[in-house]
């Protein structure tokens, strides 16, 4: 008898009546009860569903905050403080939303690194991966604009620094974009208003892209820690109940961590300057973005003033790229390389478990990203500049040099014949390669 049974409630009369007209119940049955999922997914596969749940939490708390928030430069800061002091459980809603943004990024970064480690971006999941990168971009835009809303010092100065970046784009286009973002000639009330409007809109765009992301996922199903395709019923289990319960357990663990921040260290990941009302006449000593932007901020600042401007341009002759623009291009390039990663990595083996060299470079890359984050938080001076530059160059080298070369020269380990082979016998070389700890499969 197959493990993949339609649920009994599909036979219910009302359900059948509705389903005949709108097959929503068949859809649920198909995507949960009959949806085959590799049986060997480890806990790193929990982070996708966690991201989805946090997205919902963000939307619910965000809508509630919007009921009490006032997007006006003279009132925004105080309206947030009213939420904290006078709205019933306003402090709770705000702290959930504030820390939820950080949690969202932690989860999504782990989710992405999971993909990098197990080669989830490779065929046939390229579009799935690219949709993911698009989600990351949308999240960054949303978080950036959300941070502006409380209209504290970091809100204002962060908005000023980041929007000004676009002015580096030549031919007047940059200035046009900046004026459009500002709705005037400085970060001011018009800016705050449009940022609020867009901050409300973008999460729903993210929902839309997430739907596409999951649609693409359900076409070929999840990758898995061994990285080989599933080959029949012994390799898979129905999503429900196996992964619904596993995801719920993971959610519980996550909520504990989340609650520790909300209730006991709600401002740990924030910056004290944002409790000072925005003041266009007083610049903070160090303008630092939120922690989740720090690696990109470090890349932005890593480009030397005369790098392309005084050097490559002469060499190329016709490309006039100013240093500031080069920095901006590098920053966006850091995400753009993720888009094309499926085509940079031509190694046929997905999982790092069978790629002895890639595995090492994966960890070096992970450390490189942490170093970049660290440099982003430090003032750009002395040795920090050098470290930032080296780490930036390595970031790109990882994708543009290391990965293509590994695809050519790395000797990969032999793959097991199927996911279930190491479990039900077979043994030999293959079994050793796939000898995951039993807990990881639990």
């Amino acid at each position: 008898m197959s493990k993949f049974q339609k649920p009994a409630w599909l036979d219910n009369g009302v359900v059948r009546w509705v389903d005949y007209r709108l097959p929503i119940f068949s859809f649920v049955s198909h995507e949960l009860y009959e949806y085959p999922t590799p049986r060997n997914l480890n806990y790193w596969w929990n982070f996708g569903s966690l991201a989805g749940i946090v997205l919902v939490i963000m939307i619910v708390t965000g809508i509630t905050l919007a009921m009490h928030y006032t997007p006006h430069t003279a009132l925004a800061f105080d309206s947030v403080e009213r939420i904290m002091r006078d709205v019933n459980y306003g402090w709770l809603i705000r702290y959930i939303h504030m820390n939820g943004a950080s949690m969202f990024f932690i989860i999504v970064y782990i989710h992405i690194f999971r993909g990098l480690y197990f080669g989830s971006y490779k065929a046939p999941r390229e579009i799935l991966w690219m949709l993911g990168v698009l989600i990351l971009l949308l999240m960054m835009a949303t978080a950036f604009m959300g941070y502006v809303l409380p209209w504290g010092q970091m809100s204002f100065w962060g908005a000023t620094v980041i929007t000004n970046l676009f002015s580096a784009i030549p031919w007047g286009i940059g200035d046009w974009i900046v004026t459009l973002l500002w709705g005037g000639f400085a970060v001011d009330n018009a800016t705050l208003n449009r940022f609020f409007s867009l901050h409300y809109l973008l999460p729903f765009v993210i929902v839309g892209v997430v739907v596409l992301h999951i649609w693409a996922l359900h076409v070929h199903g999840s990758n898995n820690p061994i990285g080989i395709a599933t080959k029949g019923e012994q390799d898979v289990v129905p999503f429900h109940p196996y992964y619904t319960i596993k995801d719920m357990f993971g959610l519980g663990v996550f909520l504990i961590v989340f609650a520790l921040f909300i209730f006991f260290a709600p401002n740990y990941m924030g910056h004290p300057d944002n409790y000072i009302p925005a003041n266009s006449l007083s610049t903070p000593a160090h303008i630092v973005p939120e922690w989740y932007f720090l690696p990109f901020y470090a890349i932005l600042r890593a480009v030397p003033d005369n790098f392309i401007g005084g050097w490559t341009t002469e060499w190329l002759g016709f490309v006039i790229v100013e240093a500031k623009l080069a920095g901006v291009l590098a920053m966006f390039g850091a995400i753009a390389v993720l888009f094309v990663l499926p085509w940079l990595d031509r190694s046929p083996v997905r999982s790092s478990r069978f790629r002895p060299m890639y595995k090492w470079f994966f960890w070096i890359f992970a450390i490189d990203c942490l170093v970049l984050g660290y440099m982003g938080a430090l003032p750009a001076e002395g040795i920090y500049i050098v470290i930032g530059r080296v780490a930036t160059v390595y970031y790109f080298a990882h994708f543009l040099v290391v990965i293509p070369l590994l695809a050519k020269f790395e000797k990969t380990r032999s793959l097991p014949k199927s996911i279930s082979e190491p479990i039900f016998g077979g043994g030999g070389v293959a079994a050793a390669g796939a000898a995951a700890k039993p807990m990881e499969k639990a």
Binding site: E81, I245, M248, I256, F264, L370, Y374, P438, A442
Partner: protein
């Protein structure tokens, strides 16, 4: 794979710590004080809040506002309604326009916010030699180091700056203030206020008390937050434990 988690935690915490240290650049790191309201179960020391409110009202309030706090909020920390009404009535605020359209002044009432000492920033600067005494409602949250910094600032004045440092006219040397030169003269002096509960008003005592009071104005939800947090965490621990058991049972037929 546990490495990823460790790395992330180390990375993130070091970043947060790091920004804190840098923003404070120039002043010494203030000494850590044992606050009644720190820790998982911390609550504000009521007697200290009461003394701190007195220090604020009798010393700081001549220069600094507390514009986000309403008089009625004092009732939450043990002041009686009559006491708070009396405190509020000492100040005047603009009333609604009367029938003739004139705006008159009336005594403040419970629902009013603390009346700031100066009508605007320019007036505040004019009265303080060009320096601006910031509003204190959120001060503890708005400085790296929080309560420890504020306490440090109040006890950190040095009559004799360390060798070679020249203190310009109108400035004062403070160990913990970033850059060390602050326009506010040491606001606290021994026995500057008289505490009703007989506590001796040393500079350090007053600094501790007013800092406790300003920690409350910055985070009036702190006690409720921590109390709820304990319950939520306990609930989640049990729930997660149960989910784990269920998960093991569901998966048992696969192992």
């Amino acid at each position: 794979m546990r490495k990823i988690v460790t790395l992330l935690i180390v990375g993130i915490s070091s970043m947060a710590v790091d920004t804190t240290v840098h923003a404070a650049g120039g002043g010494k790191t203030p000494p850590a004080h044992q606050w009644s309201h720190s820790g998982l179960f911390g609550t504000f020391d009521r007697a200290s809040l009461r003394r701190g409110a007195k220090v604020y009202r009798e010393v700081c309030s001549s220069c600094h506002g507390l514009r986000l706090v309403a008089y009625r909020n004092l009732i939450d920390i043990g002041f009686s309604e009559a006491e708070v009404k009396a405190i509020a009535a000492e100040q005047e605020v603009a009333a609604e326009p009367n029938d003739d359209g004139d705006v008159e002044m009336r005594p403040a009432i419970l629902s009013d916010r603390f009346v700031s000492p100066f009508p605007n920033e320019n007036a505040a600067r004019a009265a303080n030699g060009g320096a601006y005494p910031p509003d204190l409602s959120l001060m503890v949250k708005a400085r790296p180091g929080g309560a420890n910094y504020l306490r440090g600032l109040l006890i950190g004045y040095k009559e004799e700056p360390p060798g070679g440092v020249i203190v310009p006219e109108g400035m004062n040397y403070n160990e913990y203030y970033p850059g060390n030169m602050i326009a506010m003269a040491s606001p606290l002096s021994e026995d500057g206020v008289e505490f009703a509960d007989g506590t001796k008003a040393t500079v350090e005592q007053m600094a501790n008390d007013v800092t406790t009071f300003l920690s409350w104005t910055a985070e009036p939800e702190l006690e409720e937050r921590k109390r709820m947090g304990i319950k939520v965490i306990l609930f989640l621990l049990i729930l997660t434990g149960l989910l784990y058991v269920v998960k093991r049972r569901i998966w048992s037929d696969l192992h």
